[in-house]
């Protein structure tokens, strides 16, 4: 077997309306930079970052999606394999917050039932333009039993924390069933776009 540079592979997905900052969040996390000069994402984009959690090297494979309706046929095909999904809205834009409900419905329709979810209210550095209060963000998250955080890719607020909390939640779910780590790794290697390894090895 080829030597692996990681113990577990988690597949994450970023979704949300166009312009809320999905690509910027991902870029901040993967490259620790912020830039406003991003082109719009067409279809699907992809980044990798390895993090260490509880002594395990976890490779995060993160898919960044296009926000507009047209791309849903392309992007929803990624929902199935995702173990964690981040739903992003923009705290300075009411509509992007209202649409969170629509995105949640999308997840219900297309993702695995036990996928870990997290709502992010991005652009929280722009306090003077805020139209969605933090309380409303918290309320909708509570209502759906989902984690919530306000973030700023620009000011680097909560970006790392959001990803590690999501990863940890997945790890919690996985570790109970992870009797044989080697076995899991093989599952990861062979079936990169199917069920998460933990489930694959104990089915």
């Amino acid at each position: 077997m080829a030597k692996k540079t990681y113990d577990l592979l988690f597949k994450l997905l970023l979704i949300g309306d166009s312009g809320v900052g999905k690509t910027c969040i991902l870029f901040r996390f993967s490259d620790n930079h912020f830039t406003t000069t991003f082109i719009s994402t067409i279809g699907i984009d992809f980044k990798i970052k390895t993090v260490e959690l509880r002594g395990k090297k976890i490779k995060l494979q993160i898919w960044d999606t296009a926000g507009q309706e047209r791309f849903h046929t392309i992007t929803t095909s990624y929902y199935r394999g995702a173990m964690g999904i981040m739903l992003v809205y923009d705290i300075t834009n009411e509509k992007t917050f209202d649409d969170i409900v629509k995105w949640l419905r999308n997840i219900d329709e297309h993702a695995n039932e036990d996928v870990e979810k997290m709502i992010l209210g991005n652009k929280c550095d722009m306090e003077e333009k805020r139209v969605v209060s933090k309380e409303r963000g918290e309320a909708i998250a509570r209502e759906h039993g989902i984690r919530f955080m306000e973030t700023s890719a620009k000011a680097n607020i909560n970006i790392d924390r959001a990803f590690s909390e999501l990863a940890e939640a997945i790890l919690d779910k996985t570790s109970g069933r992870e009797a044989d780590a080697d076995h899991a790794r093989i599952a990861v290697e062979r079936r990169p776009s199917r069920a998460p390894p933990a489930r694959a090895c104990c089915s």
Binding site: I48, E69, T73, K129
Partner: protein, 384 residues
């Protein structure tokens, strides 16, 4: 005479003909159009069926089209002057409801044109020829103003002493922080991205079945850029009108890529991706097999390649060079498949040794490469 000068001369000779020999022009353009003398601009207009082949009808056609475009601007942007019926009119075709629906489309366009080709300063700079009726309207006719105001105006009531209140209103500007250098210009001026915004909005209004889909900005961008830097002043002045019609003609050929309900049809994007996969399998079964085994699906990379005619994969000059060949080919979109296939073949060694992640990255961020290498390879494939 140098080879380059000879090429320019060859183009000029064809363009001087009473009736253009289109086959000859296609053959020349396929090998790349020189940047000089506005050649690309005029040749694209011909290849995109905007300018007629007959020399003596050219001027009249252009004049007619350019007038028509002014008419579109008048009717759709300048004259409407806002909704006329009551805002609470519940009829779905009330002018208010149309106004709000339009603004939703406009908001999406606004977000995207401010993200167009950020690596060059062109779209952020002022056009020599702003649309006078729009830029001298006290901001009233500016499209981005419409979405700014409808979304972001608010008023606060301030209490001062006994029963004295002051209503202070303020317009929050959506552009001050988020759009960086894509800030709107002052009264009387207009940035190129504002021009692109207007064309896309008109297109959406005139093609309501399709409206605006993300990515169209990446198709119109290179065409507009080419026309707006034309050597001829009159052509530059009408770059917007000319671009609008050329874009419309090009979209007529590729619009199905942008329509979700047509994804599975023979002109839809899934079919195109299937064709690419088939082409790859035929030309390099090893690489095809490798990507299959890794479950690296064509849509991870080729959805964007094909939908945008590669405009996000290369720098603008390279995109323009690729489009010379694409527009010159009668089977435009078969050749697009060959180009995409050539790209994959040129990085085959990396793909054969790379794991899933590095392969997705490689294909999604195609390495800078001499485009003639890619185009030659594509021709080679097309001859098999």
């Amino acid at each position: 005479m140098s080879l380059h000068k000879a090429r320019i001369k060859a183009f000029q000779d064809v363009l001087e003909q009473d009736v253009i020999d289109i086959v000859q022009l296609q053959r020349l353009a396929f090998n790349g159009i020189p940047d000089e003398k506005g050649l690309r601009s005029i040749v694209w207009k011909i290849l995109l069926h905007y300018v007629p082949h007959e020399k003596n009808t050219r001027e009249a056609t252009l004049q007619k089209k350019r007038q028509l475009y002014q008419q579109f601007i008048d009717e759709i942007i300048v004259t409407p002057g806002g909704p006329t019926d009551h805002p609470l009119n519940i009829s779905p075709d009330s002018s208010w409801s149309t106004y709000f629906k339009d603004n939703e489309v406009l908001l999406q366009i606004d977000k995207d044109v401010r993200r167009l080709c950020p690596e060059i300063s062109f779209f952020q700079s002022a056009t020599e020829f702003p649309c006078e009726k729009v830029v001298n309207s006290n901001g009233m006719k500016r499209l981005h103003k419409r979405v700014e105001q409808s979304m972001l105006t608010y008023a606060t009531l301030e209490r001062r002493g006994l029963g004295v209140s002051k209503l202070s209103s303020e317009i929050r500007r959506s552009d001050s922080v988020s759009s960086g250098d894509y800030a709107p210009l002052n009264e009387g001026c207009e940035a190129h991205w504002e021009v692109v915004e207007r064309m896309l909005f008109l297109y959406a209004k005139l093609n309501p079945g399709q409206s605006y889909v993300q990515g169209m900005n990446e198709i119109i961008g290179p065409i507009y850029h080419t026309f707006a830097i034309d050597a001829d002043k009159e052509n530059r002045q009408h770059a917007e009108a000319d671009c609008f019609f050329c874009f419309t003609n090009l979209m007529a050929e590729i619009r199905d890529f942008f329509i979700r309900t047509l994804d599975e049809t023979e002109s839809g994007i899934n079919y195109m991706m299937g064709k690419l996969s088939h082409c790859l399998r035929k030309n390099d079964a090893d690489v095809w097999g490798r990507l299959e085994a890794q479950e690296l699906r064509p849509q991870y990379y080729s959805f964007r390649w094909l939908t945008l005619l590669l405009s996000q994969e290369f720098s603008l000059p390279d995109v323009e060079r690729i489009w010379d060949s694409l527009f010159a080919d009668d089977n435009r979109f078969s050749f697009l498949i060959y180009i995409c296939c050539a790209m994959i073949l040129l990085v085959r060694d990396n793909l054969l040794s790379g794991d899933f992640a590095s392969n997705v990255k490689l294909l999604q961020n195609f390495p800078p490469m001499d485009v003639s290498l890619i185009l030659n390879k594509a021709v080679e494939i097309s001859n098999v």
